[in-house]
């Protein structure tokens, strides 16, 4: 069973789906290409069912946030156990209201991975049977892996800010001294009557 290279897979998809498939990235990096969001489910179905591709393992499903470009790029990695080839593809979701088709009907592995992307990035997946948060508590506000995420005010009155421990440590001496009573004035007669230095302990 021949393992196809990234270029061959990309050619095969571009021949079938035309402009829905973006250009292959330059070979310096791990190669990937983009898929248009409205054709995602169709392309995924082809990837799984085409006998020369037969990607049966959804190896990874994650996302990266790009606020400057206004997109959340959802990254898919597919692998075929039959042919032993790997594919990386990205789908751009509009950052203001990110929504994509769920791949759960095709690969059950997508179930939990899409839940994680929803939890940490806020991307909703149409057709997912059970889209709810997975890693964070159910009533968490916000999507932490976004670049502009800020924890506003803690969670259920558990604060998430505290003083810098280094400041506390450096100022501890000063704080302790300020609380102690001032030392008594030294008595010169008692000091002169003290015996010579004690012999050193031990050897």
């Amino acid at each position: 069973m021949p393992a196809l290279t990234a270029e061959q897979i990309h050619q095969r998809l571009a021949a079938r789906f035309g402009e829905a498939i973006g250009a292959l990235s330059p070979p310096k990096k791990d190669p990937f290409f983009t898929i248009a969001p409205e054709k995602l489910l169709e392309v995924a179905r082809f990837l799984k069912s085409d006998p020369e591709l037969s990607f049966d393992f959804l190896q990874d499903l994650t996302a990266t946030d790009h606020p400057k470009d206004g997109v959340i790029k959802v990254v898919y990695h597919f692998y075929s156990y039959q042919h032993r080839h790997l594919l990386a593809a990205k789908v751009h979701a509009d950052r203001k209201s990110p929504e994509l088709d769920s791949l759960e009907p095709l690969w059950k592995a997508a179930n939990w991975m899409e839940r994680e992307v929803y939890d940490l990035y806020g991307v909703t997946f149409r057709g997912h049977p059970d889209l709810r948060r997975v890693l964070l508590p159910d009533d968490w506000v916000g999507h932490p892996l976004r670049k502009d995420y800020s924890e506003a005010g803690g969670y259920h009155e558990i604060s998430n800010v505290r003083d810098n421990p280094l400041d506390l440590y450096l100022n501890l001496d000063r704080m302790v001294k300020a609380q102690q009573p001032p030392p008594p004035a030294p008595q010169p007669a008692a000091a002169a009557a003290k015996p010579a230095a004690e012999p050193p302990k031990g050897a």
Partner: protein
């Protein structure tokens, strides 16, 4: 209001109605048998479960978010915590991903040191898995036996890198320290001892009637289902899929070693009702993998090349802008894939650790229908899920 509507559970936004006569119990998150802090909302009709819904996230430490704040080198100790029972693999996966980004060549001695430390860690991780599995099922004796062997591995690895659990040993470009001079004879002596111990194991639990009956035929996962749900590692091989990254997409020094890849064959035997892909297969594949790891370690110790243990790495690691790389390694719990994206700065733009245990959680709910509560414990143990890999 009918009795049906009286008992409902809210599992996040998903509302589950309990049927009449059904109990809704929480198994976890503090529970000795859930392999970490994991909660299961169990709908049970007496002892038989209708379904068990896992709830995770109790050990979420935002490691992937931290990856965007620290430097490439500085992230290495965090990878230890992604799976602290098999930390060498997490280190190696991240190191390989960043080395791909930077185009670094790791010297051969470092590759061998990585392979040796990883295979020893694999044995240690499988020992914990098998020991805790036996203990969860009720056989308390194998657990301290397993941990006693693991202590020897901890001692060996401590001599190598200074730590017993979170190693921070593999670094970007190689490994942190070279091997001490007397390490290989000690390792060989222990490997000989461990071979005999594995035979003892077979007599102690693998052929124990009660142990076999508890696991044989339980939660059979056919090969197509395993691939569909994304199971990896020993879970996948136990279902009959002959795939191992060390042999099929060799990385590091693994191309130089000869070893077998154990796959599930219904090891429990027909009389006990064993089937390919049941829990006993998942357990026994791990025992066989321990043997193969011993073989690999022996070969690596024999063929260890001299030379450097660290490549020439620039002081500041700064990959090309907008390059990305994915590394795949065969960790103890399956394929671990690290996906690192760089924006040209000193800190990663995105670090992603896709672990085997996270995917295994997805199958538990569907496998748990109709099982008994004690079987759920055996199922979780046979899938070898650990909370740090799930939650990161």
């Amino acid at each position: 209001m009918s009795l049906d509507q009286l008992t409902i559970t809210r599992v996040g936004d998903r509302v589950e109605h309990a049927d009449q006569g059904e109990m809704v119990l929480n198994m976890g998150p503090q529970h000795p048998s859930t392999h970490g802090v994991i909660n299961f909302v169990v709908h049970a009709d007496g002892e038989v479960m209708k379904r068990a819904i896992p709830q995770v996230g109790y050990l979420h430490r935002a490691i992937e978010k931290i990856g965007e704040i620290v430097t490439y080198n500085g992230f290495m100790p965090y990878t230890d915590r992604v799976d602290y029972l098999a930390a060498m693999f997490a280190n190696e996966g991240y190191a390989i991903a960043v080395e791909k980004l930077m185009g670094l060549q790791v010297p051969p001695r470092a590759q061998y040191l990585r392979a040796i430390s990883c295979e020893l860690n694999r044995i240690a991780s499988h020992l914990v898995s098998i020991g805790t599995m036996a203990m969860d099922i009720g056989a308390v004796t194998p657990f301290p036996y397993a941990l006693r062997e693991r202590e020897s591995i901890n001692d060996l690895i401590e001599a190598l890198c200074g730590a017993r659990l979170t190693y921070n040993y593999h670094r970007i470009g190689g490994v942190a320290f070279d091997m001490p001079d007397d390490w290989i004879p000690l390792c060989r002596k222990w490997l000989d001892h461990f071979d005999k111990t594995l035979d003892e194991w077979d007599r102690l639990i693998s052929r124990n009637e009660i142990f076999v009956q508890r696991l044989a035929g339980l939660a059979v996962v056919p090969a197509a289902m395993a691939i569909d749900y994304g199971l990896v590692g020993p879970n996948l091989r136990a279902s009959g899929v002959d795939f191992d990254l060390r042999r099929d997409h060799p990385y590091g020094a693994y191309a130089d070693f000869k070893f077998e890849v154990p796959i599930g064959k219904g090891y429990a035997g027909a009389r006990a009702g064993g089937k390919v892909g049941d829990s006993y297969d998942r357990f026994y594949c791990r025992v066989l993998e321990c043997r193969e790891s011993v073989r690999i370690t022996r070969q690596a110790c024999d063929k260890l090349p001299g030379g450097e243990f660290m490549a020439k790495v620039p002081k500041k690691i700064r990959p090309e802008a907008w390059s990305e790389a994915q590394s795949r390694i065969e960790a103890a719990r399956g394929e671990m894939a690290y996906y690192v994206v760089s924006d040209g700065g000193e800190r990663p733009y995105r670090v992603r650790a896709r672990t085997g245990s996270y995917l295994a959680m997805g199958i538990i709910e569907d496998l748990s229908r109709g099982l008994m509560i004690a079987d759920l414990v055996a199922l979780i143990a046979s899938l070898d899920v650990v909370a740090p890999e799930i939650d990161r």
